[in-house]
């Protein structure tokens, strides 16, 4: 007798978020990227599946990142202090589909760049590259409330993804995202209750739930990865059961977390038994990314070119499995 697979039937769906606007949509991107829209848990194609593939966004900074390990920095040596050249390299050489610029240089402790400087950079960046953009603040709430609104305005009509809104600081960003036609990242500290609450608070201001991407906050392999996984899975199960307030796509800052891991940063001299350092960081970033893809990640913000290449290949394999 033929084996009958047990298929789950769901009533809900993850919302689809479009990042980037093409010329015909009022922007200047070559292509817009759609994320989300899942109808089932990751890659269970017979149950509904994944209409839009997970996307790797390549992370760049507005200022040379001082604390990136050498193994990571060496891939970008010639462009690290020129964000426009860095962006161009990512798009041309790494074939980045989406770019994620972190405005770290605006942080009072890391350069304190002004709102005008950052807005000008965003403006130039949009001219230099034609992929959709994710714009991140510096992590300092007060400063971000000054720079992000002007950056959002500088990118008006380009339908960027801008972050990050948190429970104690979401109003300024939500208002400017709403005014300038962008999407928002809602960050919660590995806490499903806060993720849900923040989505409600943002949507109460008039921004549609369909324009929110959740940053569930993740930990790298060995640093809470499974905790992030369980939070993401719980949100998805609720979303598929019809809870629209948690049915947002996920963005995961894989590069940031992976390259903080001791296993990625420690030299071979310190830990000879751990194998060559050149490989370790890449492996850490790849494993963290692939595990999160299985948890339902929609955007993976990554750093190392080799890790990015491997993860893209992994995504392609999973997606071709769909048609095979």
């Amino acid at each position: 007798m033929a084996l009958q697979p047990m298929l789950e039937k769901w009533s809900g769906q993850v919302s689809t978020v479009t990042i980037g606007a093409t010329k015909s949509e009022g922007g200047s991107r070559r292509e817009a990227v759609k994320i989300g829209g899942e109808l089932s848990l990751p890659f269970l194609f017979p149950e509904g599946g994944v209409p839009n593939k997970p996307v790797v966004a390549v992370e760049i900074w507005d200022t040379a990142p001082a604390d990136w390990p050498q193994e990571l920095k060496k891939n970008y040596t010639e462009v690290l202090s020129d964000p426009l050249a860095w962006a161009e390299k990512c798009v041309k050489e790494l074939k980045a589909e989406v770019l994620c610029i972190r405005l770290q240089g605006a942080h009072p402790d890391f350069g304190n760049r002004s709102a005008d400087q950052e807005a000008k950079l965003i403006h130039e960046l949009l001219k230099r590259v034609d992929v959709p953009l994710i714009i991140l603040g510096s992590g300092d709430d007060t400063k971000d409330n000054l720079i992000l609104p002007v950056c959002a305005e500088a990118a008006k009509g380009e339908r960027c993804l801008i972050g990050e809104a948190v429970q104690d600081n979401y109003k300024t960003l939500t208002a400017s995202v709403l005014a300038d036609g962008h999407n928002i990242i809602a960050q919660s500290p590995i806490d499903i209750n806060i993720a849900k609450q923040l989505n409600i608070l943002i949507s109460d201001m008039g921004l549609a739930l369909e324009r929110i991407v959740i940053n569930p906050t993740i930990g790298a392999l060995g640093y809470g990865l499974e905790y992030a996984y369980s939070i993401m899975e719980r949100a998805r199960l609720a979303a598929f059961s019809g809870d629209k307030t948690v049915a947002s796509p996920f963005i995961c800052f894989v590069g940031q977390e992976s390259w903080r891991a001791k296993e990625a940063k420690a030299t071979s001299l310190e830990f000879p038994l751990w194998g060559p350092q050149a490989q370790r960081g890449i492996i850490w970033e790849v494993i963290t990314a692939t595990a999160l893809i299985q948890a339902g990640a929609d955007i993976l913000v990554m750093r190392h070119p080799e890790a990015i290449e491997k993860v893209n290949k992994y995504i392609d394999n999973l997606m071709t499995g769909a048609s095979a």
Partner: protein, 262 residues
């Protein structure tokens, strides 16, 4: 929980008058108010005063369908009235209801199957209202057996233990609650369970409090659906909170609002 709004019933003065005067607006307003308040389905009952329930039922359904595609529960003790409703319904249908009597089951179970409708089975029979849990289970088993025999999906069957007013049958309340739990064990996949909530508070002087206390207790016993007044906000808040405590929804500070956004 599957909430069936009870307010479109000719027994209520405003609805009775609207049916008599064929006042569509009044009916449609009542339908939309209940949906806005959280009803997943609307009960439709012409009321005892209707002179021509067969055509009144059709008029009500057509009127409501103009403003919503939510499921409708055709509420009548007369199979003929229910059938007249099924003939015009485009939305999903719930048949409210059959008893455990063979002559009703013989007609209504095939009708439910033919129209792909859900079926409410009340555990009463011509012999009267059951006096304890065992009698309820016996009647429930009879309804399930007929459905199985006629190929009606048991997962679409809603068994009603028949809720009695607390001031009349106080001694039976625990049996009623336990029946809700035990109905689910009769068959695999289990039948659903439902109560007509307002009956529990008939004749009491704090009806809303009795209603919402019974509902939260029934939910804890595994209740799947209830026919109730969704405009009773305290009742709906209690329902949402009970479901939260049963881990049916993810908590957040604004969980009441979140539920209503669904």
């Amino acid at each position: 929980m599957f909430v069936i709004g009870e307010l479109i019933n000719g027994m209520y003065q405003n609805i009775g008058r609207a049916i008599k005067e064929k006042n569509k607006k009044e009916i449609q307003k009542c339908a939309l108010q209940q949906i806005e308040a959280g009803a997943d389905c609307l009960d439709v009952n012409c009321g005892p005063a209707s002179r021509d329930p067969v055509s009144d039922m059709q008029w009500l359904i057509e009127t409501i369908q103009e403003v919503t595609d939510k499921p409708l529960a055709l509420d009548s003790s007369k199979p003929k009235v229910i059938e007249s409703g099924l003939k015009v319904i485009k939305n999903k249908a719930v048949i409210n209801s059959t008893t455990a009597d063979a002559e009703k089951l013989e007609v209504l179970v095939p009708l439910a199957k033919e129209y792909n409708a859900k079926l409410i089975g009340i555990t009463i029979s011509a012999k009267g209202i059951p006096q304890n849990k065992d009698q309820r289970l016996e009647l429930a088993a009879a309804i399930v057996a007929t459905c199985e025999e006629k190929g009606f999906p048991i997962a679409d069957l809603y068994l009603d233990p028949i809720v009695l007013p607390v001031n009349v049958a106080q001694a039976q309340m625990k049996d009623i609650l336990e029946s809700i739990h035990e109905f689910k064990i009769i068959y695999e996949p289990p039948p659903k369970t439902i109560v007509g909530l307002s009956n529990v508070s008939q004749g009491t002087c704090v009806r809303n409090l009795v209603n919402r206390t019974f509902l939260t207790m029934a939910l804890a016993y595994g209740l799947d659906a209830a026919i109730l007044d969704p405009l009773d906000k305290d009742l709906m808040d209690a329902l949402i909170t009970a479901e939260l405590i049963l881990n049916k929804n993810i908590y957040c500070d604004s969980y009441l609002e979140a539920y209503r956004k669904k």
